[in-house]
Symmetry: C2
Subunit: 144 residues, 2 copies
DNA sequence: ATAATAAAAGATATTAATGTCTTTTATAGT
DNA sequence: ACTATAAAAGACATTAATATCTTTTATTAT
């Protein structure tokens, strides 16, 4: 479904959003622990998110990562597309280059609805939405 | 979504089913051409399908691959599970080891419906179903 | 200015997926 | 028996994903 990079990116975004109190940032180490993912790998990924303006970073002492309200209100789809591209919500499930209702692969019609609901799910839910669930202890980001 | 191996396995199964006239088999070369996939790679994959009894193979002159009615009536999910395991219809979308409605990841509830419809789609459609679409020219297995 | 901190960037390592080629085995037809 | 055919099996190659480590840059606090 998602690549590991994308999984980590989603979880890291939610974790960063969750720890936003408007003042302090959260560092790579804490993020990696919080989402149970390898530290150096997470570092790479959130650097990329930062470069692509999905999150903010601050260097030096007391530095780290944080998100603006605007960034938190972005749909999760944005994160997914940044990491994995839009294949999940656009491509043919059987990998046909040109698959459409005119020229469908055998699974096209069956898959259309699923692809659409996947797209809706990713478009209609923001980082903030998922952050709230975690804050309310209605969801978790790790298995501890 | 699916691995390349799984994509090829699904397309190859449908292709083999489609060419079944009860008498002759279809060879690797023809299959690979028919589904626009690398010949040697397809060979590996259908060998695996054969070993796992999803298709039959016959060695020697006029040999090749074919499927029984029973094999054609298996849901596509069987092929998917043989190639990629059951992660797609069972695992957490964020990769949590223990994700359930009791202890959900942030996306769990949103994803449940989608995972279920994916499972239904793969369980309720057989190789024969998709084969029919191709035979009726209502679907294609390649982009030529 | 200097030292400490933490991200950015770059280099390297490991593993898994994908793809290709060669040799072996089974079978059919002569 | 011999030859041709085609899958089976095994070895090898390439690429992409995942993971780790080192060096550099920016910033803060002393």
């Amino acid at each position: 479904m998602f690549s590991k990079s994308c999984e980590y990116a989603i979880k890291a975004s939610i974790f960063i959003a969750q720890h936003r109190d408007g003042v302090t940032c959260v560092g790579v180490k804490e993020i990696a622990k919080g989402i149970q993912a390898p530290e150096y790998f997470v570092a790479k990924i959130i650097q990329e998110l930062s470069r692509k303006k999905a999150i903010n970073s601050i260097k030096g002492p007391n530095g780290g990562f944080c998100m603006s309200e605007a960034q938190m209100k972005k749909p999760i789809l944005d994160i997914v597309v940044l990491m994995d591209g839009d294949g999940l919500v656009n491509n043919c499930i059987l990998g046909l280059e040109h698959c459409s209702s005119d020229n469908p692969c055998p699974m096209h019609h069956e898959y259309q609805k699923i692809k659409q609901s996947m797209r809706n799910m990713l478009e209609n839910n923001t980082v903030a939405d998922f952050k709230s669930l975690v804050n309310l202890k209605k969801a978790v980001l790790n298995t501890n």
